[in-house]
Amino acid sequence: MSATQAASDDVLIARIAQGDRLAMQVLYGRHHVRVFRFGVRLVRDEQVAEDLISEVFLDVWRQAGKFEGRSAVSTWLLAITRFKALSALRRRKDVELDDEAANAIEDASDNPEVAVQKKDTSQALRKCLTGLSLEHREIVDLVYYHEKSVEEVAEIVGIPENTVKTRLFYARKKLAELLKAAGVERGWP
């Protein structure tokens, strides 16, 4: 995200704190898709993720006056989304999804092995990315898709910066193991 957009996000939040509905629409239009996708990846359920984004932006409407601008608005949004997603998962009592359960939720089409047989490493990679645990999925998404720095991920997830680095390292290691099990050898680890 550009510095200009980050600054204008701050202005929108200031207006939202004044009860400006239009500013809320602009902020929603700008961020709702990414918030939704982050939610879907965490809760693995589009309906729940849709409910989540309404809750996230309603929190923004209520808490805008307390936003101090120490982090980017997008970082704040993802942190709220993560909190709401974990609460939703706790409600569903399936926060501890193991790899097996995660794979069971995936669609019944090509599994990684079949994808590899088709020489489609790309497909296999996507399958394995979906098969990662929640804590590995979120860190991979925050770094690669949401383009968050080490410091921002630390803030969103609530862990020290060094833990952020090692957690992503282990997420990648797990990904490599899943790929290896699916027959994709990448020479690491």
Partner: protein, 231 residues
């Protein structure tokens, strides 16, 4: 010694390895980005791993992009909830800060960067001038802070407010210039409206002629296009 150096380079190498995903995403600070670039230039194993990371990076984006977008229901639900919220009264302080934030946000990053440098320079100059004045005016004898009995004690009939003015800054006024001006006049922004800033000067009342002098001096400033005394 050799073993130690190897150990250190191994440690550094694993640290660099952990930074590779952020390098691929372009979110490393310049110092770390340079370290990673240098390591990539000398370590073929790291280059191989970096290629794998770029693949993961591309597929993570592809996977997320394939997730689609929420339906209009989410937005309808949100705004229905917002409409059901109690109406809030805008606070004056928040309005002022929002306007000031808006003003600074409207400036380009380049302008802001220049302004930052100029503000730092202005502060240094100001510190220098204050230093010189203090050294020059240093009284030779010891002086207490007690009340001088030679001066008459005067007291107003009621508390008088410090002078205020409505000021419009020139469109090309930079943040640093405005900050310097506010500092030099010991002024603070108390309100903004339609591009006009209400400034307060110091925290003591001033005789009328001094206020008039202040206004004409302010009006003479390059970055000020309008300055009028205001209640």
């Amino acid at each position: 010694m050799m073993a130690m150096s190897n150990k250190m380079s191994e440690h550094e190498s694993s640290e660099i390895e952990m930074l590779l995903p952020w390098h691929a995403a372009g979110t490393l600070n310049p110092r770390d980005a340079r370290r990673v670039e240098e390591a990539l230039a000398r370590d073929p194993a790291l280059v191989k791993q970096y290629a794998a990371i770029r693949e993961e990076y591309a597929e993570t984006i592809g996977l997320n992009e394939s997730l689609g977008a929420p339906s209009a229901r989410a937005m309808q639900k949100l705004f229905a909830a917002i409409d059901a919220e109690p109406e809030r009264k805008p606070s004056v302080s928040r309005t002022v800060s929002a306007r000031v934030t808006g003003f600074f946000a409207s400036l380009s990053p380049r302008t802001l960067a220049w302004s930052g440098s100029l503000a730092a320079l202005a502060l240094l100059l100001q510190a220098g001038v204050i230093g010189v004045v203090l050294v020059k005016n240093q009284p030779a004898a010891f002086q207490t802070a007690s009340l001088s009995t030679n001066e008459p004690i005067t007291r107003g009939l009621g508390p008088e407010a410090p002078p205020r003015a409505l000021v419009r800054f020139a469109p090309d006024a930079r943040v640093a210039d405005i900050t310097t001006l506010l500092d030099s006049y010991q002024a603070s922004i108390v309100d903004t409206r339609g591009g006009l800033f209400r400034l307060q000067f110091g925290n003591k009342a001033m005789p009328k002629d001094e206020v008039a002098n202040l206004m004409s001096k302010l009006q003479g400033e390059k970055i000020v296009s309008l300055a009028v005394a205001a209640p």
